[in-house]
Symmetry: C2
Subunit: 477 residues, 2 copies
């Protein structure tokens, strides 16, 4: 493996800066679900800096929920030799080549291949390259993709392991067909935006009163769909689902999300027990690896007219291919920061288009809404050509840390106009929430350490329950 210098001369990537950024979200119970009771939303973040005169940077990240974000950063660091010295012009002319170079590193490949920590790191780097390319082109990423030639887009896709189902020729046909009427759809997108749905009412940690209030607020805000987390206690879920249906009435879709809580049989039984309240889809009913399990669940739930959705933890295009081949899902949920970046998501959008399966992206976390909106907007303008039965998840968390946060209007994502992938976090936010040395964490850990030492100097001296809990939490991190 060697880093690729520019054969043509010209600017190169001169620095890859990485950051372990963590937000203390676990203290608010935002984001709690049946598998993730106490997430600290985090980003393993990188900045590509070049020696070009324009000083434009490429920003990218992968999302985690706290512990292990340092392992993600270590994985991004391991990619540096592939990035440093690479020609900016060549990288921006063909960002897809970076993904193939990174997934093809013969030694790093052993750590996946194309899954887990290493692949998420690759996704972060590839996304940074697409951010750089679209910024340098002066276009928001969705527009950068939508105006690209179909032949060029096909060249950005790695067809390895999916060519039995989707050939480059298939992809080219789909992209050419997607161009028909794209100007009108772009206009429509700029006027109305792209429909969203909100998960804000449905976290497991919320009271029924808060759930009802937030569900009603969601309808008032223009959302046509909300989502509830389920899977911890069946009796609670029945009660919460009933309250949610009562709050929003019969015409608003309510998705439910089990976050992989169940075995196949449990998934079917539990979901059936909620069928009276007309759930629209059951999301992540079981392991994201279980293609045949999802197919069995979908078959069992078809008489109830409940759709099956998954994807936020699906590791790569190869598993998505099989979910589609097996007829295992009604809704395909891409995630912008788990697979190998924009390039692999192009492959996944093409697979979904080939099978005619709607794509409803996973978002929330930190920055996921900012990223994934671009992929859906590209899909609408230049590939699937429709927003029917398609919605992007929306959660109103942590957007203010980004330079160009998502803008919602009447339940719709407003199309970004700023060049790039909307990935750029404020320098001040990075400085404050870098773990463990940023201002927030340094102060927080110092406080914990004070509490600890005061506890050590006198066992009699009382420490509050809150502080003790904090000690336990910090010790665990």
């Amino acid at each position: 493996m060697t880093s690729t210098g520019s054969s043509a001369g010209g600017p190169v990537i001169r620095e890859v800066a990485t950051y372990d950024i963590r937000f203390p979200t676990s203290r608010e119970l935002d984001g709690s679900d049946a598998m993730n009771p106490d997430p600290d939303y985090s980003a393993a973040y990188l900045i590509l800096r070049t020696d070009a005169e324009d000083a434009i940077e490429g920003h990218g990240f992968t999302f985690t929920i706290g512990r292990g974000n340092d392992v993600q950063v270590a994985a991004i660091e391991a990619l540096k030799p592939h990035l440093i010295g690479r020609s900016v012009a060549e990288l921006c002319a063909d960002p897809g080549t970076l993904g193939r170079a990174l997934t093809g590193d013969s030694q790093l490949r052993w750590l996946g291949p194309e899954k887990g920590v290493m692949h998420m790191a690759i996704g972060a780097a590839v996304n940074a390259a697409w951010d750089l390319a679209s910024k340098r082109a002066g276009l928001p990423l969705w527009k950068f993709l939508a105006q690209a030639e179909p032949e060029w887009l096909v060249d950005q896709v790695d067809f390895r392991y999916i060519a039995d189902v989707l050939t480059p020729a298939d992809a080219l046909s789909l992209l050419r067909a997607g161009r028909a009427g794209s100007a009108a759809r772009e206009e429509q997108l700029r006027e109305r935006g792209y429909p969203g749905y909100t998960t804000s009412p449905g976290w497991l940690g919320y009271s029924d009163e808060k759930l009802t209030r937030l569900a009603q607020q969601a309808v008032a805000d223009g959302f046509g769909q909300i989502k509830l987390k389920v899977g911890a206690e069946l009796a609670d879920d029945v009660r919460r689902m009933k309250a949610a249906r009562a709050a929003v009435g019969p015409d608003i879709r309510i998705a439910i999300d089990a976050n992989q809580r169940w075995n196949v049989g449990e998934a079917v039984e539990w979901t059936r027990a909620l069928a009276a309240y007309d759930p629209y889809w059951i999301e992540e009913p079981t392991s994201p690896d279980d293609i045949l399990g999802h197919a069995a669940i979908r078959e069992a739930l078809a008489p109830e007219r409940i759709k099956v959705a998954t994807g936020e933890h699906v590791q790569n295009r190869i598993v998505f291919k099989q979910l589609l081949q097996a007829g295992a899902i009604d809704i395909l949920q891409i995630d912008a920061a788990r697979v190998g970046g924009v390039s692999e998501n192009l492959a996944i959008l093409l697979l979904a288009a080939k099978f005619g399966v709607p794509v409803c992206p996973h978002a929330g976390g930190v920055g996921l809404c900012e990223l994934v909106q671009h992929l859906s907007m590209f899909d609408f303008v230049a590939l699937s050509g429709t927003t029917e039965d398609r919605v992007i998840e929306y959660v109103d968390h942590l957007h203010d840390h980004f330079e160009t946060p998502v803008v919602m209007r009447d339940g719709h994502y407003v199309a970004p106009t700023t060049p790039g992938f909307s990935a750029t976090m404020h320098a001040g936010s990075i400085a404050e929430f870098t773990y463990p040395d940023g201002r927030f964490w340094a102060a927080d850990l110092a406080q914990t350490s004070e509490v600890k030492s005061s506890k050590e100097t006198s066992d009699e001296k009382s420490t509050s329950a809150a502080s003790a809990a904090q000690i336990a939490e910090e010790a665990a991190v």
Copy 2:
């Protein structure tokens, strides 16, 4: 998440030491295949140290091929809070609980779940716990497992996501049935050992002359099966396969291994082109994630009577479950250091037993032969009850770095008698090959740096091609 202190008092895990150990195997072209041209066999290694008086340690590792081994070590480090302070007695009484605690960490889980870097790290830690438990019991791991009560073994298995196919009751029945005749099989094992096969002749980097010589040597050494790496150039593979068949005659099985090189269609065509030389199985014809792809390949190759094998890169029990459900494989290849350790391999052996599919473990690398022999020997004595069509891969590399290296006799693995999982590396080997500060690498990097600086001081001064290549290689690491 909190570390588990001993409720009962008594010894606890007091230290988890980690090591980034790399062997410079790429310089010999040992281990080269179509996807891994230049592996540096490596171990992300840990030692569990307790405060018990016996000073017995638990050793475990995961195998990588060089770059990224530091990321693996970082992932093991992230597990420390789950390990430090844990009761030795409780851990050894139920090593399976550790696997569930580690895979269940709600924040770390996001980095998989149960796949890639984080899951391999969990496997290393779980294996160290089983090493500790069997050492403390004074038994080699295979015997520790084979003499255990079926009920206890079932308790060590995590049935999440596989219970639709294998219930605890199924597992108990299989283990109870496996006890019939186990004493006689144990005696047979101790006398004859467990059959192996060798990959030593078949690396892509070897000349035809070396291939022929090593293949003949393998037969002379008592092996009934050899394996050839394929997938780089078809004409070369036809020539090498012909030479290998000529060298060993018609009665020795020749497996071929493509290391994931192909798409589904290519896999079928390429393998058919070698059918005239009677390959016994085609291993890793395509992505390990492609369950349906393997099923299609197997169906297409059935008329040629060529078996399909995979598993060394299969991430967990959930994917193995589906490979069996889909009838995608004839041979299941467990790996001792990729999935979640002994506990998850118990689940996989049980799944294979339920479907009646032979298990032929992947080994080689560094230390993989040492580990996996125990799992096959347990399977023979107390589960499947047979060695028919079952062979453990054997490669004669790097065994001398282990305190109790595998012993081969007449093409068979001799049953270990030393307590533990045979995972313990010599302290001297660890010290010499720790990267980058061990004696070997420190000297190597110093030499590289000398070459570099002499190159820098005079561009005219000639540096040998070998040194220049070394610089490129080191820069890449």
